[in-house]
Amino acid sequence: MSTTTTVPVRTATPIPPKREIASTREDFPILKRMIHGSPIVYLDSAATTQKPEAVINALVDYYHQTNANVHRGLYALAAQATDKYEGARAKVAKFIGAAETEEIVFTRNTTESINLVAQSWGSRNLKSGDEILVSEMEHHSNLVPWFLLAKRTGAVVRHIPILDDGTLDLSKWNERFTNRARLVALTHVSNVLGTINPIAEIAERVHKHGALLLVDGAQGVPHMPVNVATLGADFVAFSAHKMLGPTGVGVLWGRRELLESMDPFLGGGDMIRTVSMTDATWNDSPWKFEAGTPNIADVIGFGAAIDYLESIGMNEVRRHEIELTEYALEKMHAVDELEIHGPADSLVRAGVISFNHSDIHPHDLSTYLDRKGVAIRAGHHCAQPLMERLGQNATARASFYIYNNREDIDTLIDALQSAGRFFGRR
């Protein structure tokens, strides 16, 4: 507990020392947990990642030292909380190469970021008959907001199908992208197939016709270097909880002129400039889109997550995932009963592997694996249309992050083989 004599404009966070990826495991307290008597093997990072002690400590420190509401208070705590909150915004901006800090809007999650665009941009810019193009591999969060928008405006949602190898069928582009298309909403990386979509190439097609491109970055930004200055998108949405950060924080990045031209999203405190008994005027973006008390502590915790990722380097994060994915694909291909979905080449896919076992339903597999300490996901992964396309009611999915290693994959393979014997017994 220290005496404060001046209120610094920007709290200088000590840059953590460079981390070797092989040594990151020890930074994650939960990985020491035992599950049903076995050490945990967490293979569901596509759903949410675990958190390093540095992020948890940032939350504790905030509540121990700085907690106050932001933007309005004149006292020391409030000024410090505001600096830390806005400082985290600057970190996010720098992390994704945004031209300006003001292009970062904090939301609850990717889902809310996409809904924000659907409401604030969509309601103003779409007319009946206008078209929104999505893909067959989208997460529900990048489908349902557009369905709701379509219902409100009379716009139409069309989609790009996928090929059997799990990549977009761009041969259908000209047929599906008509001159009524106003927005393309596409995932950077499929949370089921692992497919990395060619965003730059698509951005060019989209912009040639004056439409906009929203990228669902939920599985992209956490796993590889993403620079919005070169990506080609007009909006990018992602979630802190999928990249070591706390739950409850999402990001919408948008080009400044777009954000400025958009209607507000939710109304209330902090997003206004003036309010009378009949009307209101709006604050500048991004604050125009952040109504009410924000999730201050978790935004600051997210800043610590970004520091942590930068201490490793996103190139290294990606390299590690390619290596693990290659190793896992090779091992899994050797198990006859497994059908693996998505692209074969680990250079165009992320560390997400969905699969089906010829004899074991994904649910039974997941229950069995859990008893060995191995956490995988089973189900539709919030991608029911894609399940339909794959002809599956459900798939099993293993997904990796920086704290996973080859031993995790060995344990997975052992458990898959043991499951085969367990369910195959007569």
Binding site: H363, T367, Q392, A394, F423
Partner: protein, 161 residues
């Protein structure tokens, strides 16, 4: 060779009787008359069931079920198909109720014939799998209640969530 069996609770979940029902599910048939039919869906996992019932008087004369899903949901549907024929409407509902309570840890009432269902007793230790076990039974309850309301119910499918 190790058959993966070294975990008492897991063994109790996947008893041989359960696996047997999963591998040769009863009730895969075509009824000569269908009085009730209903679909069930577990949106969490995607498991689906279709159920047809032939009634005579106030009793279930025969049942056809087709369940696509995990061991637990398929086995439970199969046991239902085996148990139900000949039961009165009330007996069927009593059975469904007893099974629901079993899944939440309460033993079935003494004297009630629950057939192979006691092999699913181990599911109660896996709360996230209880929905799988109940899919067929919730679908049955809805089908019977719908029949009671004489077919004017607009909702023709059951979901467990």
């Amino acid at each position: 060779m190790d058959d993966g069996r070294n975990d008492i609770e897991l063994d109790a979940l996947y008893r041989d009787t359960v696996l047997d029902h999963f591998r040769s599910p009863r009730g895969h048939k075509t009824l000569d008359r269908i009085d009730l039919t209903r679909d069930g869906y577990n949106p969490v996992c995607g498991d689906r069931i279709t159920m047809s019932v032939k009634l005579s008087d106030n009793a279930v004369e025969d049942v056809a079920v087709n369940c696509k899903g995990c061991v637990i949901s398929v086995a439970s549907a199969s046991m239902l198909a085996e148990l139900l024929p000949g039961k009165s409407r009330e007996e069927a509902l009593r059975l469904a109720d007893a099974f629901k309570r079993m899944m939440h840890g309460h033993p079935p009432p003494p004297g009630l014939d629950i057939g192979d269902l006691d092999a699913l007793d181990g599911v109660k230790n896996f709360p996230v799998r209880v929905k799988c076990a109940l899919l067929a039974w919730m679908t049955l309850i809805d089908a019977l209640e719908e029949a009671e309301k004489k077919g004017d119910a607009p909702d023709r499918s059951t979901t467990t969530e």
